[in-house]
């Protein structure tokens, strides 16, 4: 259940492959019938998720906003009273119908991803001849004359890129460095380890502090406590949080 409002810090932010993916997630989490989506609830949760993303300073792609508008439109159409009709056959079409069709279609493909992933994993256990020279050995040989000069150029670019010799494009603005949760956890662990007397959590917050960094730091802390690597102490709610290594953790 997406309990965004009640306990935001416990919430593990999943990554979605677009608005349809997010909607399917909400439908699954709420255990509702895809053919009879409670549109008002789902729309609310969808919007809550977008505002959560916003509060975490994550960019929201345009497709998500388009879907939000679609949901709200469906919701308002469902609120309109249906004109009574004599003939049940020309009853107005369910405003959710098109969306349901899209969700069903998308879900079919999503379901095949596991199969492909399994095949990919299996295939990675097989090696073919010449794998040492050609690590990406799913590149089958090419027929003579099948290769254009541009492909030759592309091949060199690829080789240079994979050798890590790409020229960095000069940009006027250096974007703020974004670290991952894993990196943040490693950083936190390193600092705590170097402070046997305990590390005040506040000292980890660098100024100027960005909301994103603070949330990430807190998520890192929660994760490390959950894993049993760190112990967090707080005398009273007024005091700062002091972090220790767990004695049994290496």
């Amino acid at each position: 259940m997406l309990s965004v409002k009640t306990n935001p810090l416990k919430f593990h932010l999943p990554v979605f492959d677009g608005p349809l993916d997010l909607l399917l997630h909400l439908i699954r989490e709420n255990k509702v019938d895809i053919y009879d989506i409670p549109i008002a609830d789902i729309t609310q949760q969808y919007l809550d998720f977008l505002s959560l993303m916003e509060s975490l300073d994550l960019a929201i792609a345009g497709e998500y906003l388009v879907m939000a508008a679609t949901l709200m439109e469906i919701k308002s159409r469902m609120l309109l009273p249906q004109a009574p009709s004599q003939n049940p056959e020309d009853e107005e079409e369910d405003p959710r119908q098109e969306l349901v069709q899209r969700l069903l279609e998308y879900r079919k493909f999503q379901a095949t991803v596991d199969t492909l992933e399994g095949w990919e994993e299996y295939r990675k256990l097989l090696y073919f001849r010449g794998a040492l020279e050609n690590p990406e050995d799913y590149f089958l040989p090419m027929e003579a004359g099948d290769i254009s000069l541009n492909e030759l150029q592309e091949a060199l670019k690829r080789a240079l890129l994979s050798a890590g010799v790409q020229e960095e494009k000069v940009t006027a603005v250096t974007p703020r460095r974004r670290v991952s949760l894993r990196m943040k956890m490693a950083e936190l662990l390193r600092k705590v380890r170097s402070c046997p007397e305990g590390l005040p959590f506040d000292s980890m917050i660098e100024h100027p502090a960005y909301l994103y960094d603070i949330v990430l730091l807190f998520l890192a802390l929660l994760e490390l406590v959950r894993q049993g690597t760190l112990r967090a102490e707080q005398e009273t709610t007024e005091d700062g949080i002091i972090l220790h290594m767990r004695e049994d953790a290496v």
């Binding site: 492959d17 677009g18 608005p19 349809l20 993916d21 792609a61 497709e63 879907m67 899209r102 279609e105 998308y106 879900r107 079919k108 493909f109 999503q110 379901a111 095949t112 991803v113 596991d114 199969t115 492909l116 992933e117 399994g118 095949w119 990919e120 994993e121 299996y122 295939r123 990675k124 256990l125 097989l126 090696y127 073919f128 001849r129 010449g130 794998a131 040492l132 690590p135 990406e136 799913y138 590149f139 089958l140 040989p141 592309e154 690829r158 994979s162």
Partner: protein, 200 residues
């Protein structure tokens, strides 16, 4: 001179999947004889405890190492190129089932922009341009390649599971390593129409 050993040599030097026709031509025999010799080779490799095996892949047969040696080999060979992302796999699945397909058509299914993913799949040679659709704007049509089959260690598109039967709730367990063989078997009933339901 023994036919099955000759086939072993052919598969060894080819370095790509060979079909029965290729083998029969080089062996100067008919395809039926080549197929028998191939079975004999598979049997011998298994019985003699060889580290190699014959796999059916990308429409032909190729020599490959057995799975249990992947860790040892991994210490000699560093493989670059990690796994495909979820978005890439999803896009590949759509292309595989609906090919030939245009980028707007992919986007209609996924609900997100697809050109970046398609471009990277194209660079990996897993999909290729196969023509243009005769509609307004003449958008490029994409299809999967031989490398797609090779990448997923399947022999043909017919091994793809039937889309209609897929229930996502049950799929969590389907990803097992050896789903390969079972799926290949299960899919043998599928017809070409089931694979390209939308193609005229």
């Amino acid at each position: 001179m023994n036919l099955s050993s000759a086939i072993e040599c052919l598969l060894f030097v080819a370095g790509e999947p060979l079909n029965l026709q290729d083998m029969a031509r080089a062996l100067q025999c008919d395809e039926y004889t080549a197929e028998e010799a191939l079975r004999e080779l598979q049997l011998r490799l298994g019985e003699s405890g060889s580290g190699l095996q014959v796999v059916s892949i990308a429409g032909g047969w190729q020599l490959a190492t057995r799975m249990e040696y992947s860790e040892t080999i991994g210490r000699l060979v560093t493989r670059n190129g990690g796994k495909l992302s979820h978005a890439a796999l999803e896009t590949l699945a759509i292309i595989a089932y609906r090919q030939p397909i245009t980028i707007p058509e992919i986007e209609a299914v996924r609900g997100v922009s697809a050109s970046g993913v398609v471009k990277s799949l194209q660079e990996k040679r897993l999909v290729a341009e196969v023509g243009r659709k005769q509609t307004i704007g003449r958008p490029i049509l994409y299809a999967t390649t031989q490398e797609f089959l090779h990448y997923f260690a399947i022999s043909s598109l017919e091994e793809l599971p039937v889309l209609e039967n897929f229930e996502p709730e049950e799929s969590d367990t389907a990803g097992g390593l050896l789903a390969n063989a079972a799926l290949a078997e299960a899919s043998s009933e599928t017809s070409q129409e089931a694979i390209y339901p939308d193609t005229p």
